[in-house]
Symmetry: C2
Subunit: 155 residues, 2 copies
């Protein structure tokens, strides 16, 4: 059965793969109104050398391409880390109706941590549900940065 | 000589071309620290059927691709309309140091109109300068929507 937890686990699996490719391990899964997975993506900012290659943005771009539509009104996006302003803006622009995320991001989270974009009268005001498997989602990110700090020490 | 006005005129030229392709006529130009144009883009949400194909986002993605870098620290982005939260977030993510825009956007502007993302402690806090050739920048957008409304009336 598809639950918020099972979909966050799918996003986590994509995130872990990204971590192995030396990306900050963040993953996103986009699901349509029937519960079908439309797109999965992980953060690719290092691989693509692109400031805009966040998991959510890539998943939204891919779903729009598949659907040949700039609106994803029936969709839910699952993401392991609270979206940043760019990604929360993209979610509004695509009129995604529901956002489920894992860990909060005090540094850049745009659904309550740094700012709350879900409260603004943008193209859509998604229903937002945070904290689903928060610890599991934060663990690979924390591990990633600990590893990075260790490497820097040895250089 | 390159001035803010001359660069906004370049962005306007791109916007006008987009208008002819039935896109909301918004254009952006990305200029590096030496004053070289790195990328130009117009809104392509209709053509690409993509929620994320805003002028600024496309210009940033293109400049990152050209530079093979996710950081555009030395750059200025010129855009005919005040960026939305998605694009202002992308500007911060790319660490762009300066934003010059034409018309304000009371509906979705993220540099003071609906919200002010330039004040947040994101990856970068760009210097923002709005209102450059505001009337000239607003005119094609206003014309576009007037035309749209007329067409709808006749349908």
């Amino acid at each position: 059965m598809m639950t918020d937890e099972s979909m966050i686990r799918e996003a986590l699996a994509v995130a872990e793969l990204a971590g192995k490719a030396d990306e900050v391990p963040i993953g996103a899964v986009l699901v349509d109104g029937e519960g079908n997975i439309l797109a999965k993506a992980a953060n690719r900012t290092e691989t693509d050398k692109s400031a805009v290659a966040h998991a959510e943005l890539l998943a939204i771009a891919e779903a729009c391409r598949l659907r040949k539509s700039r609106r994803l009104t029936d969709c839910t996006i699952y993401v392991t880390l609270e979206p940043c302003p760019m990604c929360a803006g993209a979610i509004a622009s695509a009129r995604i109706s529901r956002v489920v995320f894992g860990a909060s991001d005090p540094r850049a989270g745009a659904y309550g941590s740094l700012i709350d974009l879900s409260a603004l009268p943008l193209e859509s005001k998604p229903q937002v549900c945070g904290g689903v498997l928060a610890e599991e989602c934060l663990a690979p990110i924390r591990r990633f940065f600990q590893e990075k700090r260790k490497q820097t020490k040895w250089k």
